[in-house]
Symmetry: C2
Subunit: 809 residues, 2 copies
Amino acid sequence: MSNVIGTPLAKIDSWDKVIGAAKYADDMNLPRMLHARILRSTMPHARIKSIDTLDAEELPGVVAVITGRDVPIEYGILPSSQDEQALCVDKVRFVGDAVAAVAALDVETAERALQLIHVEYEPLTPVVTMNEALDETRDAIHSGEHADHHNIHKMVALEFGDLDAGFAEADYILEENYFYQGNTHLALENHSALASFSPDGHLTLWSSTQTPHYVHRALAKTLELPASRIRVVAAAIGGGFGGKTDPFSHEIVACKLTMLTGRPVKITLTRQEVFYCHRGRHPVLMWVKMGVRNDGEPTALHFRTMLDGGAYGSYGVASTYYTGALQTVTYKIPAYKFEGMRVFTNKPPCGPKRGHGTPQPRFALEIHLDKIARHLGLDPAEYRKQFIVDDKTKTVNHLTITTCGLRECIDRVVEASGYGSEKRETRNESQESKIENQKSKIKIGFGLACGSYLSGAGLPIYWNQMPHSGVIVKVDRGGGVAVFCGSTDIGQGSTSLLAYIAAEEFGIDVRDVRVITADTDLTPVDLGSYSSRVTVMTGNACIQAVRPLKQKILDAAAEKLLVPAESLSFRDGEIICEDDDARRLKWTDAVVLTEAKHGTLSGTGSYKPPKRAGPYKGSGVGVSPSYSYAACVAQVSVDIETGQVRVEKIWLAHDGGRALNPLLVEGQVEGSVYMGVGEALMEEMTYRGGLHKAPSLLDYKSLTMNDMPRVETFLVETNDPEGPFGAKEAGQGPLLPVPPAIANAIYDAIGVRIDETPITPDKILKALEEKEKGRTARFGPKNFPNAPYPEPLHVEPPEDAPRLERKKG
Amino acid sequence: MSNVIGTPLAKIDSWDKVIGAAKYADDMNLPRMLHARILRSTMPHARIKSIDTLDAEELPGVVAVITGRDVPIEYGILPSSQDEQALCVDKVRFVGDAVAAVAALDVETAERALQLIHVEYEPLTPVVTMNEALDETRDAIHSGEHADHHNIHKMVALEFGDLDAGFAEADYILEENYFYQGNTHLALENHSALASFSPDGHLTLWSSTQTPHYVHRALAKTLELPASRIRVVAAAIGGGFGGKTDPFSHEIVACKLTMLTGRPVKITLTRQEVFYCHRGRHPVLMWVKMGVRNDGEPTALHFRTMLDGGAYGSYGVASTYYTGALQTVTYKIPAYKFEGMRVFTNKPPCGPKRGHGTPQPRFALEIHLDKIARHLGLDPAEYRKQFIVDDKTKTVNHLTITTCGLRECIDRVVEASGYGSEKRETRNESQESKIENQKSKIKIGFGLACGSYLSGAGLPIYWNQMPHSGVIVKVDRGGGVAVFCGSTDIGQGSTSLLAYIAAEEFGIDVRDVRVITADTDLTPVDLGSYSSRVTVMTGNACIQAVRPLKQKILDAAAEKLLVPAESLSFRDGEIICEDDDARRLKWTDAVVLTEAKHGTLSGTGSYKPPKRAGPYKGSGVGVSPSYSYAACVAQVSVDIETGQVRVEKIWLAHDGGRALNPLLVEGQVEGSVYMGVGEALMEEMTYRGGLHKAPSLLDYKSLTMNDMPRVETFLVETNDPEGPFGAKEAGQGPLLPVPPAIANAIYDAIGVRIDETPITPDKILKALEEKEKGRTARFGPKNFPNAPYPEPLHVEPPEDAPRLERKKG
């Protein structure tokens, strides 16, 4: 083994990023390139009566104008959600829905031309709130085939184990409502796409996409071109966080326009367009009912969610399942009922964002547990630790726990923060004097929460039939290694991780490995960068590709060195006999010997996740080769005069399995904390009559460097059998415990519960005011909507799941 | 089988070329790019006493100045010819030798800076002629290690069979001298290189090179970088013809400058620089002695060549062997002696040009045979046909004949042209009246000649130990096929051929195949585009890569269709059961099924030529998997008043095995004719005191469209067992018979022999003048130089070689 895995190395693309050599989609320009802009609906809900593009077409500098009739084929990311059109044909469904597009010699002309397109709308009553979506007297946003019922996109109800018995066993049952507000990814880079069509019928798209393979499929469908004539390349990506995971209207439009004009076409969205077409995090209403014994042991959990999906399906079916799937993977739950529903509204569609569908229920669950612990007089940390799932078991809903380092995660953050003890670090030294002055106004609190996330998941278009990741490795005669894989690096460093893995396996310097990614012509299919899947899935495929090559090299070296191949290992650019290290061969010489014997050296690896889906529909969502765990302690200070919450410090321990590069894992933790604090305290996407209230970086409130807490990160390295070198996920899981830890810390500081995000000063002040009056302010929904959840499907838990032991009676 | 192979298809890169999308090296620009120029020696032979670069360095806009001390490591294409330095350190050896280089903000500044570099030379007596090179009293151009003896770079002498016995059996022996003048490739694109060095130590070079792998090696050596950190990419190439086959000084210099400055550096040679640094065709003196019986049957051949190599080795060792190797592969020669010698002179170094080392001896041999036929009163065509080598035999010098279509080639051109009969087509109709007027002054003549060339060869750095070609094939889930190979397309269409082969094998449209070439990072090693090797060698590697994939696909399809895999074939985008064509599966569906079963679909193929070298040193040169054959009839008109020769028409039949794309083969024939006519009549590289006499497109006389004869091409398609689908070479062989056919036609027209190229009007007039006086003008060398050829190595011919049957005594 060389010294690559586990070492804090720079990302292999860091120099390119630093010196500006990395090319983002909008950096690219081609000769004769046209610039396109999209006309977007100003109505939240309306029928399109007519579109007159004549004036726009006649504007000098305009080369082409298209409308929905030019690209009418419906698409969508999931087979069950083929409900979008690149440009609307009959209806618009949200302010921002794409209606027409112009390609012109420059952006300004394209913009002017948009103003010359005359669209006649017949307005329909907009469906704005979730309650309105449930009102069957209102117009349906979609036709029946795209919805489970009227404006209900998806309904699901599952019951695992005996819920009634569980509640019957409980000593204490707590029921509460929670609300997690929608918010956006806020990637630095706006979406951009450059398309070029060659005269012999080959289409190339460079795009800031996390999922070139899905875009490839969507283009083939909507443009009616063979996939073999389409090349999709992910450019360098300036942040994704899930917001570049759907195939987007502007990608299809750019392609259609280049096909029509024969000239390259670029579309770069404005920040405002991104706010509208963002596919941000779903707002989710939640109702939680949990039963526990007096020692806190959970006996039953009933979880109900309602997602505000906005106007289209996107990944919404998966999002819905996700709001239910992972409640079971942290603590032993012997009986679990989940009811989920996603409704359509005339707002921008929601999709995946870091933690996809799981931060919302985690917020509810971890506050709920805090309340229960307080009620029972238990220490929230010690309490949780007693009921943590065991390694090598299954959950009540058939998810497989391979390794779980949550107990150690809790220990680490509790010990470091002094949570629950007198050792608590109470303030930032630099603020000492300030706090001294305002002592009585600043309240300090500590909160704890935990979380868990997937290490990759499948997608219904393939489930486990097809490889989720393919890798081809070439070993050059000069000793260079090329790794070809379809995965996209969205800044998280996945490309670097593949280089580390190959370098580790071959015992060579990382600089001797080149990674070629995310180009559907050059690289084998990889489903993309989402679900924290690349390190585990593409990494495993990489190892599979490398291993037979290693054996060939070992055999050739053994023949040359006259030693058994088993005695040889790859180390520091050499093949060395472990029994006699005078017998060694340079890597480059061994490669030449091997190529002379076997011919060109290349290997292929594929990864399919283990077949573990449970015996029920929808069980595939949530199934992951392994689960990461995280525990967080937040220290907050609350100014009771202004309601201002400041997160002073975050202690976060993450079990992401083996940290292949601890620097990158720490980076993911810090980024997750940044995002989690923002979601907890200030980020929100809200609308007035379908219009976004804050569609700009100036108006949308998010964390600045001044608001960023100090972060102390602990890596708890379980050695997971499913991961390459024991790795699990790291990119999303650390976010999950942050918002509930903050909410719990606020309660600890000022004794009020704010059960919805964002926890803004006005809510704090209102809560304090009510408390002063001896009342309890409620910020989650007062009543969970009366929704027609279906009869649940009863599913028998697996053998090795937590069992309800009857103690009573 | 689909309808790809044998079909006249467009090249797959033709649209890119036509619309200007193809990027040549000089088209590329990078941010912060510097422009470099090279200071070249003005002296043919001198010691460098000092170089003062201070003034140049101080010129505003100059970023770096380097001299030989910055890149002193010697390199060269062959292991035995490591005699060049990117910039000369101690000596300059020809006018044009590189001495220093400047990188500046623009070309003009770099040019000005060159004038500020002060080089102090100590002049040495230049060695200009071959006779001077043999004069041991003159200074040696190279130190001893780089030459066989003084200014003799290479000497070789080989004798196969019993030469004395052969000549003793002869009824007629003819001895003559011939001279073939040096000339240049005249590719439209001047050499250009763009180099970029990243801060993490990765060097990338885009270059107009035919041999990225050799450049890769040369860079690693001269820059002392691991090959794994160097990426060489062949840009689109605007013609090569062998002139871009060496690693060049300017490539190394561009790399060194980018490494020193941290900024990309581009060098594009001027046309004048290309003329000087061209590695053009060797001027070759030849002495031929041939013995035949009265019926023309060859009994012995003694061939002596002397090559004017210019200042460096280049491929010269191979060139020397080549002037001897292929005399035996057309006609049955039972005894053969070859003596070859290459000398160093203070002129630009010579290297490979289309036909590398073989057009010169072919010119001599085919004129020699014409003379013998005339002397014996035999028809030159019928005569040749009697002694053509047989399929599946070996030559006296151990070369293997797999298939030979030369007899049919002769028949085709004789029949079409009426050569040797009264049916001769005597003139171009459009010139009828002109000719009518000048009837007495215009003489018409017909000449015939033949030739043969290699289908690829090895190179001493590898011979057969390592693959000469590697190919990786990836089949995408969407049905697209990607072929990765290191070969370069220099305009001949080799990239297209690989697409045809893959498309044919898979039964799909050529547009579904993308070929990724000549990028040492992305593609496996291929030795490059020279020796007519790509179609046969890379083509075979491609088939080897494809076949196991096909089997997997067939097995998956068979399982699905419930038929035996043997009954299935790939046709028109489907897998079809030949016994029941209702049982069929779309290619795209079959691919998905196969990937589901086997994982990511990729295959690897390698090609090594068969091990066939004879039992003597140097036998590897000339060894080829197969040999192409060509026969040519030229019709010329000679104006006896002006000496002007016009080639009216060329009939050329080429046995290139199966023509994978007849359009491309015809294109190669026409291009070869163009080049052959130019070499025969006008092209010449001549020097005065080391200075090129015509280093510009205006001065260097070459064929214009007005001079281009009509060409009638015949493809004689032998089905060679060594080639993919029976193919042999086509890119170089058709040139060989053209110059001697023209020379023979001129004799036919006016009764004089011009035994040297170019056959210019002044030589014609002089010959006619001498003839008028009853004398014979000689244009070949009057006396072959008295050179110290070594004692020949006697080699026993193989069993199945032509045998001398003793008839006398």
